[in-house]
Symmetry: C2
Subunit: 182 residues, 2 copies
Amino acid sequence: MLAKLTALFWHQGYGQTSMTDIVEASGVHKPSLYRTFGTKEQLFTKVLRRYLAERMTMFAQMIEQAGPGNDGVHRFLELFEADAVAEHGRDGCLMVMASNELRGTLPGYDFATDYRRQMRDQLSVLIARTVPEGQGESDIAQARTELFTTYLLGLHVVMRSGAEAQDISRSINALHVTVDGW
Amino acid sequence: MLAKLTALFWHQGYGQTSMTDIVEASGVHKPSLYRTFGTKEQLFTKVLRRYLAERMTMFAQMIEQAGPGNDGVHRFLELFEADAVAEHGRDGCLMVMASNELRGTLPGYDFATDYRRQMRDQLSVLIARTVPEGQGESDIAQARTELFTTYLLGLHVVMRSGAEAQDISRSINALHVTVDGW
């Protein structure tokens, strides 16, 4: 059921999703919803935490699959692009959407910070393979990780804006060219 | 009056801003608002067009001030950062916010595409100064322009998410390091 509610919020945004929409999508009556999930805010916190865990698993798999060196980064970008131009990719990222709408926080959950930290941790694994062994924490590796973390936020804005596949491709190509210079 | 309404939408988002809020902020009665601006959608189209024009003037001035070469790009980033960490900078960019909420379009105005195209045009002036004369349209110059265009979208997401000044600074530093590699 949380999967259905995730899709609902992701598509419509937080503010535009009413408790009535939630009742309809879940098929669960309001008193029972409140008992299980609490308020709309508390429900959305659960949705975001679940989404983030799934998203990080997806990124970890892509990074695992991508392999070593700068070639691995190119391969990661190809995997990312395949997902980005698929139909569901056009929704962008739920965390980015929510971050813009709610300014990054819900009571008790600073989700934008959490998201960026976890993305950074994932991407640092990919980036560590582009520098000599033992330099995964060097200034250059950290700057590359940060570059990718913030750039992917921008890409998700492009993806959600109704951009054509070729626009998304052009944005991703800019990263390929950057990696060629490493 | 459009300035007041811009601030209102920018802070609250489009969906969360009701006609009642608009009447209150503008001090103009509903019938008169409809006569002058049309529907809420049409009013928001005017707000976005006006904002975009002002924003592009601001970027043009920063780029003018930044000066030539890679040093000019570093200087541009310093100017951008000073604006980003100021109080109003924390709202991020109205176009990015609206793009996430409305998926980039209003009836008759594909504003996310318009915004990206105008940003790209501005930034291409800055980037052309980093390549040999006559190569401002080269693949490398275009990729650098695209990198900056998408990266700034990501930075605006960070800015609106309640990030600390040092987080914003770290994201901008990743671009400084990239430019050092040009």
